[in-house]
């Protein structure tokens, strides 16, 4: 009786692992397949039946994509936009996040609610009116203007995430520093900042990915200075398969690395934000 129970427990545990692995495959398999397509020779992409391994392994398709017209420039634009977005949203948003986490003041809840409620709006759609305004202001088709739009997109996230990161540093620690001779600013620099740094880094990485991936605003707000997703999207229906596959893989690759770093902070980033 007892042994059959143990046996059943092993079986059910095994089934749980099987399910976990199936779910992992559901995520990984498509990535693997696009990887195969991106790292085969160009001709292999047209081969049928489609090989499931890169045979032979080749960077030819990838090189072809990266050397295509406009790709190098658009990658540069993408990185520039993402870096500006990351810096701006952190510079503007982190102080607000800190204020919400640390100070009790009139209007705090109102502000927090306003920021939370921006998520009930399709922010990306705002790029249409912004495009019109940017044209009027002579700021259209510029990576800087797009970075401003992306910052608007990222800012509510940054504020909520940094406030949850700062809130996870106990207030006592800052107060202890102040009783030991620190000013408010010194206490922040010497205590809160070092403790919040890993979380803040994860938040900024997330902002980078957000901007790197964004396509609607990018395609509306730029014409000649396309970011990578905007470029790929606009040439999608006239581009050969190898170009699309290599482009697809190139665009998703950063996520594989970023998630490795952000992983530990995912729930910091999202857990308290849901409140």
């Amino acid at each position: 009786m007892k042994s059959s129970n143990t046996f059943l427990r092993y079986v059910s545990r095994g089934l749980v692992y099987l399910l976990a692995i199936l779910m992992a495959l559901w995520v990984l398999l498509p990535i693997y397949l696009i990887g195969v397509a991106a790292f085969s020779e160009q001709l292999a992409v047209y081969k049928y039946p489609r090989p499931f391994f890169p045979s032979p392994f080749s960077t030819e398709t990838m090189v072809f994509f990266l050397k295509s017209t406009g790709v190098a420039a658009s990658v540069r634009s993408s990185v520039v936009v993402a870096l500006i977005t990351l810096s701006l949203s952190t510079l503007i948003g982190a102080p607000a996040g800190y204020a919400i986490a640390r100070f009790v003041f009139r209007g705090r809840e109102t502000f927090r609610l306003l920021v939370v409620s921006t998520r009930a709006f399709p922010i990306v759609i705002l790029s249409i009116p912004l495009a019109v305004s940017f044209i009027e202001w002579g700021m259209y088709d510029s990576v800087y203007s797009l970075a401003l739009m992306h910052t608007a997109l990222a800012l509510p996230f940054t504020i909520l995430i940094t406030s949850s990161v700062f809130a996870s540093v106990p207030r006592d620690l800052e107060e202890a520093a102040m009783t030991l001779g620190c000013s408010q600013l010194q206490a922040f620099v010497r205590v809160s900042l070092p403790l919040a740094l890993p979380g803040l880094a994860a938040a900024t990485l997330f902002t980078f990915v957000l901007s790197w991936n964004e396509v609607f605003a990018a395609v509306i707000l730029t014409v000649r200075n396309r970011t990578l997703p905007a470029l790929v999207l606009t040439v999608l229906d006239v581009s050969p398969l190898p170009y699309r596959f290599a482009g697809g893989f190139f665009m998703l690759a950063p996520s594989l690395i970023f998630m490795l770093f952000i992983r530990k902070y995912l729930f910091n980033l999202w857990g308290k934000v849901t409140k």
Binding site: A24, L33, P129, G247
Partner: protein, 286 residues
């Protein structure tokens, strides 16, 4: 006295940049979207842009497909995400690795996801290769054809479910972590099966997280367009894609703004519906 005054002002000083930024790049364009949508070509107010929008041949299918997509994708996503979240919480070995894998799509763009699934569904793609190898098909089937709206929709659903489940999973795991283990142990003591626990303890307690995830997912789903473009080309169209087309191809920002305004209203209405439909009764909070 002055240090006190200064201290009281500090939080406002910290908020100021954010407030200014959000006013200029959020509040202003939001108002502007509606202004544009109701603005006539020569100036003055009009409903023409909305009439143009509704009369457009693509409007009805775009509207229908957008709603249909949301209705299909969201239940699929939530079932997948809840499964993943429960697996993460099941204290498996390598759960860190599983979490990483399940979270990867969080950083993948719509466009890239669309291309990935295009590679699978295309005529000489992986799906046809498998199906012919298994003898189910004798020659490749053209899934992504304009005539096969059903298959186009199916491929887009898969791509979206694949890409956007992660965010729901993360929110649900965060929610699960806030459910004290004692509740589940108490359920165990009273003889609840896993199924009972999910339906009678976990889901009701997860209501706030579900609400947030639903709102977020629905709003994002209203903005989807690149997946559809990458997978189905012009085969199916969505509201956001029409907004893009009216702006980029027809060079008519006013009608594009009408689409934007419509999407915004739909988003807000759905948020209100979720808030109202999934509210946690006051007496059930501890």
């Amino acid at each position: 006295m002055s240090t006190r005054r200064l201290q009281a002002l500090t939080p406002y000083a910290l908020l100021l940049p954010s407030v200014i930024f959000l006013l200029v790049f959020f509040a202003y364009p939001m108002v502007e979207a509606f202004t544009l949508a109701f603005r006539a070509e020569g100036g003055g107010w009009t409903l023409d842009n909305f009439q143009t929008m509704i009369r457009d041949v693509a409007f009805a299918p775009a509207f229908r497909t957008t709603l249909l997509l949301i209705l299909i994708i969201i239940p699929v996503q939530f079932a997948l995400a809840l499964t993943m979240a429960l697996l993460i919480q099941a204290k498996l070995k390598f759960s860190g690795l599983f979490l990483y894998i399940y979270a990867i799509p969080l950083g993948i763009s719509e466009l890239a996801a669309g291309i990935v699934w295009f590679a699978i569904f295309t005529e000489r793609g992986y799906l046809n290769t498998v199906l012919t190898a298994l003898g189910i098909l004798d020659k490749p089937f053209i899934f992504l054809s304009y005539q096969n709206t059903g298959w186009l929709l199916f491929a887009v659903v898969l791509a979206e479910a694949w890409r956007a489940t992660s965010i729901v999973m993360v929110i649900l795991v965060a929610g699960l972590q806030s459910i004290p283990n004692e509740f589940l142990e108490a359920a165990d003591v009273f003889g609840a099966t896993l199924w009972d626990k999910v339906w009678r303890v976990i889901l009701p307690l997860l209501r706030p997280s579900l609400q947030v995830a639903l709102i977020l997912r629905t709003i994002l789903a209203f903005q989807v367009f690149a997946v559809a473009l990458a997978v189905a080309g012009r085969g199916i169209t969505l509201l956001a894609a029409e907004a893009y087309r009216w702006y980029n191809t027809y060079r008519d920002p006013n009608v594009a703004a009408a689409f934007a305004a419509l999407i915004m209203v739909l988003s807000i209405v759905s948020t209100i519906l979720y808030l109202w439909g999934l509210r946690t009764p006051e007496e059930q909070t501890l």
